[in-house]
């Protein structure tokens, strides 16, 4: 573990940017049609619950990251295996975010540029950042957060002023009952983006005042849930359900629709800026956590030595993870959400918490 401390505000900022990251880009919960915004709010509730689980684990082991307390809870051998899978999981998620982002840029802005080059550029930036450590990352995050808020606020003003919102598109609410909504929550939305806060089990030990961890995390997730729900509602009301469900990047389409005062149009830069900022922080957090976890697992003294190798792995994995975008998209929806996220975000942490509970109860009794 690096000798560094971050404060509660920095943690808040990191969680918000991390959660917004790629979630701004893709259509969220569109399986539930016009109720998508409701799905996100319920998913946020689930996310808060998951965060409480992670927080309880942190409460038992406030000084060590999750790859270390797994070994304390499960014993060294089994713990190490689980920790190793977590590191692989983080690397895999970083690669998926990178791929998704690269595909977005290639489809919409740089059709002639190879995906590899686009991804490589971003990973170079992330390598540079991660090398500087968590403190620099979180300070950068503070800046980017201000910038992101400015973007979101001014974009929403523009959308409202542009007069393109048609709230009829959001009706009827719960047309097919609550069942499809709950199904979407459990199949997709709980895990992406909310369940991904599981990476912060590796970052919470850096917090300088541990009593603030609970409130900060819950507030950050709550804020993200509201923002994402709002954005989804705006997307649907501007574009309509059928367009959103067919669009790869609904927020981009919404922003492209904006035209204010005859000259404020083609505001694609807004979208690119917001997504680059979010994705940058998201990949950097995944990357950093994977690096620290690996360093911890394999007893590498200077974790910065792992920066370049892990960066190369993420870069190559981002290309190799799927042969084209449809495959990537299907993989994401049919496989990753349920079979990858569910165990790593829900099952294992709950399992760990139960064992940790009994272990610590025994200890306090003894």
């Amino acid at each position: 573990m690096e000798k560094a401390k971050i404060n509660a505000y920095q943690l808040f900022v990191l969680i918000v940017l991390f959660e917004l990251g790629s979630a701004l880009m893709v259509p969220l919960a569109i399986e539930a049609k016009q109720d998508a915004w409701l799905v996100i709010l319920i998913g946020m509730g689930g996310g808060l619950f998951l965060y409480l689980i992670y927080y309880s684990l942190y409460y038992y082991y406030p000084d060590i990251p999750s790859t270390e307390y797994v070994q304390k809870i499960m014993g060294t051998t089994l713990g190490r295996i689980i920790a190793f899978f977590y590191v692989v999981y983080f690397v895999y998620l970083a690669a998926r975010v990178l791929r998704n982002f690269g595909e977005m840029l290639v489809t919409f802005a740089y059709p002639e540029t190879p995906l590899f080059v686009i991804n490589a550029l971003l990973i170079v930036l992330v390598i540079y950042t991660v090398r500087k450590g968590i403190e620099v990352l979180s300070r950068t995050g503070e800046f980017l957060f201000v910038f992101m808020s400015f973007l979101l606020i001014s974009a929403s003003i523009l959308v409202v002023v542009g007069g393109i919102i048609d709230s009829n598109n959001l009706r009827p609410i719960l047309a097919d009952g609550i069942q499809p909504v709950m199904k979407t929550v459990l199949m997709h939305n709980l895990y992406f983006p909310f369940g991904e806060v599981v990476v912060f089990t590796m970052i919470l030990p850096y917090l300088n005042r541990s009593e603030k961890a609970k409130r900060t995390g819950l507030m950050a997730i709550g804020l993200c849930g509201l923002i994402l729900s709002l954005i989804t509602a705006v997307n649907i009301s501007v574009l309509g359900v059928s367009l959103v469900s067919r669009s790869q990047y609904p927020l981009l389409s919404t922003i492209q629709t904006v035209e204010v005062a005859g000259f404020l149009e083609r505001l694609d830069v807004y979208f690119v800026l917001a997504v680059v900022i979010g994705v940058f922080v998201k990949i950097a957090v995944f990357f950093y956590v994977a690096m620290e976890g690996a360093a911890n697992l394999f007893a590498v003294k200077e974790s910065a030595r792992l920066v370049v190798p892990i960066g190369v792995v993420i870069l190559i994995l981002s290309i190799a993870v799927a042969s084209n975008f449809s495959e990537f998209f299907q993989e994401e929806h049919r496989f990753v959400h349920f079979y990858v996220h569910l165990p790593f975000q829900v099952i294992i942490p709950i399992f760990l918490l139960i064992i940790a509970f009994f272990k610590n109860r025994k200890k306090s009794k003894g």
Binding site: Y9, Y110, L125, R266, D268
Partner: protein
């Protein structure tokens, strides 16, 4: 016996030399460590050591009766205040009645010190290194035959530049005087602003050959003790031939060398130094330069000028925002133009796009090459303008106007739009208050241009984020460079992009001054009278004057 001690001292010296060679650079010279008791030997030693330099004056005098005692006054021409040497040293030594009697050599030193010399500082010395040090810094040495000690009389003076208006940090409102090359004058100018015994100064000599005076100034009780200690530690490390300007020291004590951004602030304005000292910063004065170093520095400081605090706060705030905007223009102006014209033409309104396309039709180069040509031309002009004698300056401006202007466009090398972009960027880079930040922006601009030319806005955004990460990773004496914005410190954000009214500065920056944070008393906000009652009490006002109430 004598030689025994002498030898011992020398071995000590050698040991010292091994530990720290900067302390005793002259220990290999041939003269003995102590002053001899015969005058001629001493004078010979000085002549030999200085290679008979013509600016060293030896003036022999004879004092006392029966026997007369030979004395010599030695000083360096031009370094001393010749009037005080003549009037307060040589003249009294020749005429003072105390020296006209029979005296024994051993008492002469005391008599001269106590009764004859009318100067502020007189002290005996018996060590050659110290003697040469003070002789070379403008003091006068008095040798007496038969005494193995000499006297140092402080007569420093000579011609110096007088105090003038600052040419690098000009202000409309505020004190006009700027530092000079003399360290004593500079320190005194700050003392004149902060009349407080808590203003502490510690001096040292740095540079093996130049022995430059370097002083560290801070306000005790406000400055962070750890940072003061750290400054000392870093200054002590310095082992150089010469310190010619504070820039030498800046480069030797900064936290990180691999950056284009300055991590120490420098200024030649006494009021800026005083203001920074009050915030808990530490000033480093170097003899021979008007530029004083201030640390720890934060990034936003380079966008502030002292005048901001003298102006009204709302105006100062607006100006500060303008400066940030200017900095961004000077940083990414050409890069944005390149990115838009090369990759994102859809962002320009259609009519403008058509005009730009028509202009660029005759230009044979891509936008990047075009921008590069103009930027490099501009940099050449600028460098020429700085280094040229003033007499040829006007030639440059005429030729420059032709090059960046109509002729370049008519020749079909660049498009008119590019001339506008480059000119605005050029003006913007002059409008940044700190030259140190302006030149680093000047350099980084080319990196931005390259990234914009290869990957458009995506490359530009990545480069900006990388710059941000880099800035966030810098520290100045352990203080994060981007504070108080990142890490965000709520109370201090009022002195960054915005400037709070003076009555709202309750505390000092807490990362820089760790103790004694309270800066001003309560209720500093001016309260206008609740009604005009105050005026009514003034009997001189006639009733007719108050009809507005």
């Amino acid at each position: 016996m004598f030689s025994f001690f002498n030898g011992k001292r020398q071995t000590k010296k050698n040991m010292k030399k091994e530990q720290n060679s900067s302390d005793q650079p002259n220990s290999n010279t041939k003269y003995p460590g102590y002053i001899d008791n015969t005058l001629s030997t001493n004078i010979d030693i000085i002549r030999k050591r200085t290679g008979n330099s013509s600016d060293i004056v030896f003036r022999s005098l004879k004092i006392g009766r029966n026997p007369e005692i030979k004395t010599a006054v030695v000083y360096v021409k031009g370094m001393v205040d010749s009037q005080s040497v003549n009037d307060f040293l040589i003249e009294p030594m020749m005429n003072n009645p105390a020296l006209q009697e029979k005296i024994i050599p051993q008492e002469v030193l005391t008599i001269i010190t106590e009764e004859v010399v009318a100067l502020g500082g007189v002290k005996p010395v018996n060590d050659w290194d110290e003697l040469f040090g003070s002789l070379m810094s403008g003091n006068t040495i008095i040798f007496i035959d038969g005494v193995s000690e000499a006297l140092i009389a402080s007569t420093q003076g000579g011609e110096r530049r007088s105090i003038q208006e600052s040419t690098t940090y000009v202000s409309v409102r505020g004190p006009k005087e700027a530092f000079t090359e003399s360290i004593e004058t500079n320190i005194a100018m700050v003392r004149r602003i902060i009349n407080n015994p808590d203003l502490w100064i510690e001096s040292m000599k740095l540079g093996k050959m130049t022995k430059t005076d370097v002083s560290v100034m801070y306000i005790n009780e406000i400055a962070d003790k750890e940072i003061v200690k750290e400054v000392h530690k870093r200054l002590k490390r310095i082992d150089l031939d010469g310190i010619l300007e504070s820039g030498y020291i800046e480069q030797l004590i900064e936290d990180q060398t691999l950056t284009t951004f300055p991590t120490l602030y420098h200024t030649d304005r006494p009021d800026a130094v005083a203001g920074n000292l009050l915030e808990g910063r530490i000033a480093i004065f170097v003899n021979g330069t008007p530029f004083v170093l201030l640390g720890p520095a934060v990034f936003i400081q380079f966008f502030q000028s002292v005048e901001d605090y003298y102006e009204r706060y709302d105006i100062a705030t607006a100006v500060r925002f303008l400066r940030i905007f200017i900095f961004f223009i000077s940083l990414i102006g050409p890069a944005v133009y390149i990115a838009i014209t090369t990759f994102h033409q859809e962002m320009i309104p259609t009519q403008l796009a058509i005009i730009i396309a028509a202009q660029r039709e005759s230009v044979p180069f891509p936008a990047f090459v075009e921008a590069l040509i103009m930027e490099i031309t501009f940099e050449i002009l600028r460098e020429a303008g700085v280094r040229m004698p003033k007499a040829v300056g006007s030639t440059i401006s005429i030729v420059g106007a032709l090059v960046i202007g109509q002729a370049a466009i008519q020749a079909g090398i660049v498009s008119p739009a590019m001339v506008i972009v480059v000119s605005i960027t050029a003006i913007a880079s002059f409008a940044t208050p700190s030259y140190a930040v302006a030149i680093s922006a000047r350099l980084i601009r080319f990196l931005f241009m390259i990234s914009a030319a290869t990957f458009g806005f995506y490359g530009l955004i990545l480069a900006l984020i990388m710059l941000l990460v880099h800035l966030c990773s810098l520290r100045s004496f352990g203080v994060p460079y981007m504070s108080p914005i990142a890490p965000f410190i709520p109370g201090e954000a009022g002195d960054t992009f915005v400037r709070k009214p003076v009555w709202a500065y309750k505390e000092r920056p807490r990362l820089i001054a760790t103790e004694n944070l309270i800066r001003e008393g309560k209720d500093q906000r001016p309260q206008p009278p609740a009604n005009r009652q105050i005026d009514n009490q003034n009997q001189n006002i006639k009733k007719g004057d108050q009809n507005e109430t």
